[in-house]
Subunit: 207 residues, 2 copies
DNA sequence: AAGGAACCGTACCGTACGGTTCGGTAAATG
DNA sequence: CATTTACCGAACCGTACGGTACGGTTCCTT
C-alpha cells in the first residue's frame, strides 16, 4: 500500500499524484489542447489507467485543479502583537505572495482552463474561485480584523475592504496575462507593487 | 451595392454584418461550443458562405470580436472647464459605463473566447486587450491629465494612476464573472461602486 | 428575356480525439 | 507454483466538427 493522500473523497496513490503533476506541467505547455493520449504518453501510463483513476476527461481536469489547490497550504500568519509596522509588513508579504502566484504559469494555465469550461455544468470555475479568490479572502480577513481591533484600520465591511485590497494589488495584471499579454513582471516589480498597494490601502483604510 | 462598412482591411456587406450579430448572440448562448454549422443554421446562411466570407473558423471568431469592437464608439468627454465637481462626475460616469460593459453578457463571452484561444498563435487576446483595457486607458488618460493640469490631481506616472483606477473600479468583478460566479450586480450596485471607486481614487491622487 | 453572380441547403469527406477493449507482463498474494 | 491484481501499450470504435462540393434558387444586370 502506497502512501495515500486524501483529496476530496478520494485517496491518491503516489503514482497517481505523479501523473497529476505531469499532467499539470503538460497543461501549462499546451493549454486547452490537453489530450488524454498526450497525458498518457507523457506520464508513461495507459489511457485505461487514466479512465480508471479519474473517470473521464473532466474528472482528470478536476483532479488536476484540486491537486494543485491541495498543494497550496496557507502560510499561517502568527497572531503577533499588532503594531502598524507588523500590519504593514504582513500586508506587503500577502500582496507579494499573491501577485507572485497570480503571475505564475500554473495560475494562468489553471484559470484559463477554468474560464474555458465555465458554466452551469462544470464546477472547475467554482473550484478555482474557492481555492483562489475566496481562500485568500478567508486568510486576509483575520489580519484586517486584527488591525481594526488594534485601532490601526477603520472599515465597516471587511468584505469591501478585502475587495479593495484585491483591486489595488492585482489591478490589470491577471486579465492581461489571461489574454496573452506577455509583459514582464520582475521580482523587483512585484516587490514595488506590493509596497505601493499596501501604502494605498493604508491611506484609504488607515485610522 | 449594399452599404459597406470598413473593418480592418475588409468591407462588410449588410448581410455579413447581420450574420456577425447573429453569431455574436449565439456565442453568448453557447460559448466556446460555437460551431460553424450552428452559426449557419441560426443565421440561415450556408457554411460555404461563411467560409467564403471569413476564411475559416478562426477568421469568423476574429471578425466577431472586431465587429463588436467597432460598435463601441468612444463617447467623447467634452473638454469643459475642469472643476473638482466636473472631474468627479466624469470619473464616476467613466467607472459606471466601464463596469456596466464588463459585467455584461457580451463582454464576458468575448473575454472567455479570447482567453480560451490565447497564445502566441491567435491574436484574439490582443484584439480584446486593444479594444478593452488599452482603449479605456487611452480615453481616461486625457481626463487625468486635465485634472492634473487644473491642479486637482497629483501623480507622476499617468499609466500607474490609470491602473490604480482600473483596480479600484473592477476589483474582483471581472475574474469572478469569467469563472462563472453568478453574483448579482444591480444598477444600484454599479452606481455605488462607481462612486466609491471615484472617492477612493481622489483620496489617493487628489491634490 | 438571357446570363451570371451570389447564395442556400445538404450531403459528403477527413481527421482528431474521447472512450473501450484486449493481449501481455510484472509484482504481489496465497 | 497458481492466482489475482494492477498496469502498460496498442489497436480499435464512434462521433463531432472543420472544411468542401454541388445542385438548385433568387436576384441583379444588360
Amino acid at each position: 500500500m502506497s502512501a495515500a493522500i486524501k483529496l476530496g473523497d478520494e485517496e491518491l496513490t503516489q503514482r497517481q499524484q505523479d501523473v497529476l503533476d505531469i499532467a499539470l506541467s503538460l497543461l501549462v505547455e499546451v493549454g486547452d489542447k490537453l489530450t488524454m493520449t498526450g497525458v498518457a504518453r507523457r506520464a508513461r501510463c495507459s489511457k485505461e489507467s487514466l479512465y480508471k483513476w479519474f473517470g473521464d476527461r473532466d474528472g482528470l481536469l478536476t483532479a488536476i485543479v484540486q491537486w494543485q489547490a491541495a498543494k497550496v497550504r496557507p502560510v499561517p500568519l502568527g497572531p503577533q502583537r499588532m503594531s502598524i509596522e507588523a500590519l504593514q509588513a504582513n500586508l506587503e508579504r500577502f500582496a507579494y505572495d499573491w501577485l507572485k502566484v497570480i503571475s505564475g504559469d500554473i495560475s494562468v494555465a489553471l484559470n484559463r482552463l477554468a474560464i474555458t469550461h465555465a458554466g452551469p455544468l462544470s464546477n472547475l470555475g467554482h473550484t478555482v474561485l474557492t481555492n483562489g479568490r475566496f481562500a485568500v479572502g478567508k486568510r486576509l480577513k483575520p489580519l484586517l480584523k486584527a488591525g481594526r481591533g488594534a485601532g490601526l484600520l477603520r472599515f465597516d465591511d471587511e468584505e469591501e475592504a478585502f475587495r479593495t485590497f484585491f483591486g489595488l494589488v492585482l489591478r490589470d495584471v491577471q486579465i492581461r496575462l489571461l489574454l496573452g499579454d506577455e509583459f514582464e513582471l520582475s521580482d523587483q516589480d512585484v516587490i514595488r507593487d506590493a509596497k505601493r498597494a499596501t501604502e494605498q490601502f493604508l491611506k484609504l483604510y488607515g485610522a
